[in-house]
């Protein structure tokens, strides 16, 4: 199964095969995605995302005063994204120093998010987004963008829409959605990270690596947009899941007392200065005393 980008060995041909290398049945099938929101208590907003083998954390701080001061813009908020990969996220140890790729991805993610956020509402401020890749397996930048937009929503930052992103492209003679590492290493691989605002269909991130015809590109783009819309649904349900307990709490009183009651019951009584309360207490005590006597 081993092969490099320039290896002569072709191990798969998706135009004939029915299955993809990781067992996915369809060429337009996404890897399984799991999103959890609000995982970092100290951040204003946060999200954890698992996308196939990718594992990504996103944390949002702000809007807060932009520092250094010369980075402030009196007309809008500046979104500062920091994309980093953990040293253990890839098979070969990644040097922890941010490299060219890290800064490039930070830049494009920031620009993509800028289109979604109402930046003009927060003059002179910055919104810091930290995305950390803990495990990488192709498509980590789209995973980060997806997670970052969930974290922004979790921080309560006003946005036009969430940003949904997915990888799309070509591998083994076929247009495929959401390439994994094996597919990305195919000899004819083309990787197209794509991010959109699903409500309007605006494209906020589009990069490409490889050689592809116009027809193939259009097909890949359509496939990618469809994939993004599926991801959008997952993002929405992840955000809503935090507030699922929306129904009327009829036995909420009991619940509340259970949550807070036992440890504070004594304190609460002690806190009440009203004489009536004290009177009640004393009568109760007397009652008890009487009972004991009896």
């Amino acid at each position: 199964m081993k092969m490099g980008k320039h290896g002569s060995e072709v191990v798969a041909d998706y135009s004939k095969d029915k299955k993809r290398m990781d067992g996915r049945k369809g060429m337009d099938e996404l890897r399984p995605i799991k999103i959890k929101v609000g995982v970092i208590p100290n951040a204003d907003g946060s999200a954890y995302l698992e996308w196939g083998q990718n594992k990504v954390y996103a944390a949002v701080y702000g809007p807060r005063e932009a520092l250094p001061k010369h980075s402030q813009n009196p007309y809008k908020s500046v979104i500062k994204v920091s994309y980093r990969m953990a040293t253990f996220s890839v098979p070969e140890r990644k040097q922890p120093r941010p490299n060219r790729r890290d800064s490039e991805i930070s830049k494009v993610l920031g620009e993509a998010l800028q289109k979604a956020v109402f930046v003009e509402n927060f003059p002179n401020t910055e919104i810091s987004v930290f995305v950390e890749v803990v495990d990488a397996n192709a498509g980590s930048r789209v995973a980060c963008l997806t997670a970052a937009s969930c974290a922004l929503a979790d921080a309560g930052i006003p946005m036009r829409d969430l940003v949904a992103a997915t990888g799309t492209g070509k591998a083994f003679n076929e247009i495929v959605l959401d390439l994994n590492k094996d597919e990305e290493d195919a000899p004819d691989a083309v990787d197209i990270p794509l991010g959109i605002l699903p409500q309007t269909g605006e494209i906020v991130l589009l990069q490409m690596d490889g050689v592809i015809t116009k027809e193939e590109f259009n097909k890949a783009l359509q496939m990618g947009i469809k994939g993004c819309k599926d991801i959008y649904k997952i993002q929405k349900s992840a955000l809503k899941a935090k507030y699922e307990l929306e129904e009327l709490k009829l036995d909420s009183a009991k619940k509340a007392i259970k949550e807070e009651g036992p440890s504070q019951a004594g304190e609460e009584k002690a806190a009440k200065p009203e004489k009536a309360e004290k009177a009640e207490k004393t009568t109760k005590k007397e009652d008890k005393a009487k009972k004991v006597k009896k």
Partner: protein
């Protein structure tokens, strides 16, 4: 189901309506700007935010902390994007870093810098931090929740719209837990009744309480925007 959780970009109303808070219009339809709760009934299309930072607004009562002392006055941290400045002449005495003040916002400029007035130094007490967008629920309709927790815990309370609750005396550990509970459950209905039942200040009548739930509580979450204005008068009342 009229109330629902919306995420940014979710449709709030397909018709033309008066615009409330946290919404924007695109192609004649009203969409949500934030993660929050929307109600599709009523005249106004608005969303009550569930998360978010403090956005200074004129007439807000805020709890500030002196963060900086300069020759002419004080830089006051109001938990917003920028600090506010107050001249020394607005106080009867010299303040030092860390002093707590309660003030009202009288002007906010286009950079969201707030001017304060009616500042008053608070002696002693401590501050409980809460999510700013959830403070209306701590005040309740016409200050009902504030009244409840004040009587229940015997503390003096001032609720700052900027997500700071100043408190002194009484049972502060209990208050902290109650405030946390209210904050965490702010988006659920029937909250005031729950707290009322918890404190037991009024004898809980099962039948009467149930009847009330439907009528008085239902609209509470959605009325927060209006409450903001109404409850201003009440949120500075202190315990006797």
């Amino acid at each position: 189901m009229s109330k629902k959780v919306v995420v940014p970009g979710d449709l709030v109303s397909a018709e033309r309506k008066r615009l409330g808070s946290n919404v924007f219009v695109s192609d004649g339809k009203v969409y949500s700007k934030v993660l929050g709760i929307s109600d599709d009934e009523g005249e106004v299309a608005s969303v009550v935010a569930l998360e978010g930072k403090y956005n200074p607004q004129v007439q807000d009562t805020i709890v500030g902390v002196v963060g900086r002392v300069v020759f002419a006055g004080y830089g006051i941290n109001i938990n917003s994007y920028t600090e506010s400045f107050m001249p020394k002449s607005s106080f009867r005495e010299e303040l030092k870093v860390g002093d707590i003040i309660v003030a009202t916002i009288n002007y906010v400029n286009e950079l969201k810098e707030a001017d304060l007035e009616y500042a008053k130094k608070m002696y002693g007490g401590e501050i409980i931090e809460v999510t700013p967008v959830r403070t209306p629920r701590l005040i309740g309709k016409n200050g009902s929740m504030l009244e409840l927790i004040r009587r229940g815990t015997g503390t003096e309370i001032i609720i700052g719209k900027n997500g700071r609750v100043w408190t002194r005396g009484g049972n502060i550990p209990l208050l902290k837990k109650v405030v946390k509970f209210i904050e965490e459950n702010s988006y659920k209905s029937n909250l005031t009744n729950t707290i009322e039942a918890f404190f037991g200040v009024l004898p809980p009548e099962a039948g009467a309480a149930k009847d009330k739930k439907g009528t008085t509580e239902e609209s509470e979450v959605m009325d927060q925007a209006q409450e903001n204005e109404e409850s201003d008068r009440f949120n500075t009342t202190e315990g006797e």
